[in-house]
């Protein structure tokens, strides 16, 4: 049987580079959006892009919880547990750069800062490809607080689904550093829908759902949300959302879970790919 070996050091190095890039360098498609905005604070937001890049500073002081969506070849083996490789990269970057440690250990009682920004959040999937792919999301706490789950009636239609999302963004959108990117997980179980809504945030603005019905729904939700005119900084000028991304999954006859996650305007995402070394085993 053919096996694939993923090297720990290579993983740590590649992940580290991508974390720094996502935190410090605004992606080109977001730069384009930002530079077409000329409302309140636009001059500061534009200068921020330049200062971050030239002074090796993060675009935002909330350098986030780092979330990884890891697609592993089914026949891959690792030198270290994948969570350990991801955490090592996070720790290395966050302790050497002027980033923030934003993670506390116990959530309810001590809330003591771990002072490494770890643990990171790792979601692991197996796939039938020869390469390893890691999609990462630098997730700020402000936009994370907007996350919501609705267990709709299985007979609910797209109007009800759209209504839920629009109502939620109208009420809370200004607090998540808009224009937002909206990730929607439809179907599965409650937890699966939530996971899909997060994974959806790792896609680029122009990535659309391959199913034309869902693509149309993405576009219509996006149009409706932009009619809210929340705008950059919630100050009423410019788009309210950059994009809406839906991922759907089979669900139970009694259920229609709809999870909605949000990402701030900085859209700090990245994709790391690693070609594992082929080894033969007997």
């Amino acid at each position: 049987m053919k096996l694939l070996l993923v090297k720990h050091e290579e993983l740590v190095e590649k992940i580290s580079q991508k974390i720094i890039e996502a935190n410090n360098v605004m992606r080109e498609e977001i730069v384009q959006q930002l530079f077409s905005y000329d409302g309140p604070f636009s001059e500061v937001l534009r200068r921020n892009v330049e200062v971050a890049r030239t002074k090796d500073l993060p675009l935002c002081q909330d350098t986030g919880f780092v979330e990884f969506f890891i697609f592993i070849p089914f026949n891959a083996i690792f030198e270290r547990p994948i969570q350990e490789s991801c955490d090592e990269a996070v720790k290395k970057v966050y302790s050497s750069k002027p980033y923030r440690y934003s993670v506390v250990s116990d959530p309810l009682y001590e809330r003591k800062n771990t002072r490494t920004n770890t643990p990171s959040i790792c979601h692991i999937f197996h796939w039938d490809e020869e390469k390893l792919q890691i999609r990462l999301l630098i997730k700020g706490g402000g936009s994370e607080n907007l996350t919501t789950l609705s267990m709709l009636s299985p007979t609910a239609g797209e109007e009800e689904l759209m209504g839920k999302i629009i109502e939620h963004v109208a009420r809370h959108g200004s607090k998540g550093c808009p224009p937002l990117r909206v990730g929607v997980g439809v179907g599965g179980s409650a937890d699966k829908a939530m996971l899909l809504s997060k994974l959806a945030l790792t896609y680029s603005l122009n990535d659309v759902n391959p199913d034309p019905r869902y693509e149309s729904l993405e576009r219509r939700i996006s149009e409706k949300l932009n009619q809210l005119r929340i705008g950059f900084q919630g100050l009423g000028v410019g788009p309210t959302v950059f994009s809406v991304h839906i991922l759907q999954a089979p669900t139970h006859i009694a259920n229609l879970p709809v999870a909605v996650s949000f990402d701030c305007y900085l859209s700090r995402i990245g994709v790391v790919e690693v070609e594992p070394v082929r080894i033969e085993s007997r």
Binding site: V51, Q61, D62, G234
Partner: protein, 172 residues
């Protein structure tokens, strides 16, 4: 310029000092007050900036506002301690508007997601209290030409309410 006379929506560049604190520090101050203990920070007449800076490396750091709404539950406490204005990001609750009116205090919004640029307006960052809280400790910063917009004025007028009513019926 008397900051308290500013009206909702006015844009200023502020030069002066601010006390930086957020969730954990305010929670601790509340606890100290409830125990009857001394609060180790003088907030009389001060501006409180809801923020948690990054670590400083080779003199470089980034700082920017966090969501103000989470701090609404401590706003009365801050005003009782003499805080004259708060700075953060986003819309606040009705309770915050009422408190601003009642105490004649003001809320500013600062640009969010612009922490590298904002750090260039910070001339000094100094730890004041609660060092164990890390980024959530209390700091004092001295800023120059720090960009702010009045979010709630001392009569309780709210910029976000105004924006909502201006975009009117097509919000939903």
């Amino acid at each position: 310029m008397n900051l308290l006379e500013l009206k909702v929506g006015e844009r200023i560049n502020y030069t002066g000092c601010m006390i930086v604190m957020r969730d954990a520090a305010q929670r601790r101050i509340e606890k100290l007050l409830m125990e009857g203990s001394n609060v180790p920070i003088d907030l009389e007449g001060k501006i409180v900036f809801y923020a948690g800076p990054t670590r400083t490396v080779d003199g470089r750091f980034a700082i920017g506002p966090t969501t103000s709404e989470r701090m609404d539950k401590y706003l009365k406490m801050l005003f009782e301690l003499g805080v004259s204005a708060t700075v953060g990001k986003g819309e606040r609750t009705e309770a915050a508007r009422k408190l601003c009116r009642e105490y004649g205090r003001i809320y500013f919004v600062a640009p969010s997601g612009a922490a590298a640029a904002l750090s260039e307006h910070v001339e000094r960052l100094e730890l004041l209290a609660f060092e164990d809280l890390g980024t959530e400790a209390v700091y004092e910063i001295r800023v120059r030409d720090f960009p702010l917009i009045v979010g709630i004025d001392c009569e309780g007028n709210d910029l976000f309410e105004f924006i909502k009513s201006a975009s009117g019926g097509d919000r939903l």
